[in-house]
């Protein structure tokens, strides 16, 4: 997986550098019409969102059924492993669908004038929001004895840590640290990409660049504050 991501990153950087060189040499690339690209991208994102919605509905149905039956054909350990892994997959799928549908909706509102597509995007986005809330609530059906907090709880993070044991916190900490490192790297790359995009297309992305910069700074300051020795 790591080497695959490295290859993707190298390809991305290569593409950006090559694009910039061509643009500087010939200056004709900005004549490209991105609106057609964005239109098809939004269609693709909507289709993927619908696919993920179907996946989440079917999988959560299977999960809740197996949980109720206490999976007669699975031993206790395998059932627990299945519940844990399937719940993780559902959370990832519902969040991905939510983000994809939001991006598609944004593209439709900002670039296109096709009303039925805007409405469809809005409906799919609304479904993904409802689905995300539903998936978040499944955890208490899976582990009723654990008394886990609701994601909408005010002190969700603190309550979740209180309800978790050392091993679970160890896994969460490792996973969160790695994903935070990846997020910071990707935000930095996004910032560079937006600067290049602004220069090449003369379509200023300054507002987005500032927002990303603020997110990175706040994230770093928050982390330093959390781990400060008292």
């Amino acid at each position: 997986m790591k080497s695959f991501l490295k290859i993707v990153l190298a390809l991305g950087i290569g593409f950006l550098v090559g694009f910039l060189i061509i643009e500087l040499l010939y200056g004709n690339v900005t004549a490209l019409d991105f609106s057609n690209l964005y239109f098809w991208l939004s269609i693709l994102l909507l289709l993927l969102s619908v696919g993920l919605i179907i996946f989440v509905c079917l999988t959560s149905n299977i999960l809740l059924k197996k949980n109720k039956q206490q999976a007669k054909n699975l031993n206790e350990d395998d059932l627990d492993r299945f519940k844990y892994n399937t719940f993780n997959q559902l959370t990832a799928a519902s969040t991905t669908a939510l983000v994809m549908s939001l991006v598609a909706l944004a593209i439709q509102i900002l670039n296109a004038e096709i009303m039925w597509l805007i409405i469809t995007s809005g409906i799919i986005f609304t479904i993904t929001v409802i689905l995300s809330i539903f998936v978040g609530g499944i955890i208490n059906s899976l582990y009723p004895e654990r008394n886990l907090p609701n994601p909408s709880d005010k002190d969700y993070a603190d309550k979740l840590f209180e309800a978790s044991d050392d091993g679970e916190i160890h896994v969460m900490a490792k996973g969160l640290y790695r994903s935070t490192q990846l997020t910071m790297t990707l935000l930095f790359i996004s910032m560079v990409a937006m600067i290049l995009y602004s220069i090449i297309t003369e379509d200023s992305q300054v507002f987005s660049i500032i927002i990303i910069g603020l997110i990175m700074i706040i994230n770093q300051v928050k982390y330093a504050k959390e781990i400060k020795e008292r």
């Binding site: 206790e76 627990d80 091993g167």
Partner: protein, 67 residues
Amino acid sequence: MKTRLRELRARDRLNQSELAKLAKVSRQTISLIEREQYIPSLLIAKRMAIIFNEPIENIFIFDEEEL
């Protein structure tokens, strides 16, 4: 660190979930310990020792270099 947890569970006919309930931890923690991806706290190690009626050193085996 090496652990004889899997062997001791098989000896006492306990699955991970049952051991987890006795040790008052999650099944995931038992799985992490068995895969040697997590060194348990002294409290959890002591509970294991009581459950299996074995000294801690017989359940969790450390290399000389680790000590």
